[in-house]
Symmetry: C2
Subunit: 81 residues, 2 copies
């Protein structure tokens, strides 16, 4: 089973890296780009020993306690068989 955890900066937090990419894209001539924000994701492969509910709980715990800085970041996750 695989879990995907997506971590992004909160809307209220400035993202200078994203702004730089947006500026570069516009300068390079790409059309229609209004804003860019960068985040990271984690592809977590789980061994089959946990049931789906247990796996989901564990992934949520990992995402909240380890992968995300709750002061400046939000996360979402999805599970896939």
């Amino acid at each position: 089973m695989k879990a995907y955890v997506y971590v992004s900066l909160k809307k209220s937090v400035l993202d200078p890296q994203g702004k730089t990419i947006q500026g570069a894209l516009t300068k390079m001539g790409y059309q229609g780009v209004e804003d860019v924000r960068q985040g990271k994701f984690f592809e977590v492969t789980l061994d089959g020993k946990l049931g789906r509910d247990a796996a989901q709980a564990e992934v949520e715990r990992i995402a909240r306690e380890v992968l995300t800085n709750p002061v400046i970041e939000d996360f979402r996750y999805s599970l896939e068989d």
Copy 2:
């Protein structure tokens, strides 16, 4: 319209950062984690001037030409209204 571009290391490329996270999670007592790979994503906000097809083409071009290093990375993207 928003586009999400997900960039990940190719399967054949080692991911020491992911390995480190996996080792840390196991040491911290989290269960069932077999492997972790890290990637990044970009949330691209497009102005409404481009039609859906043009927007899709532009996002694919940006992903392929700017956001991804084709030697070591793959990308996928999705569009959202």
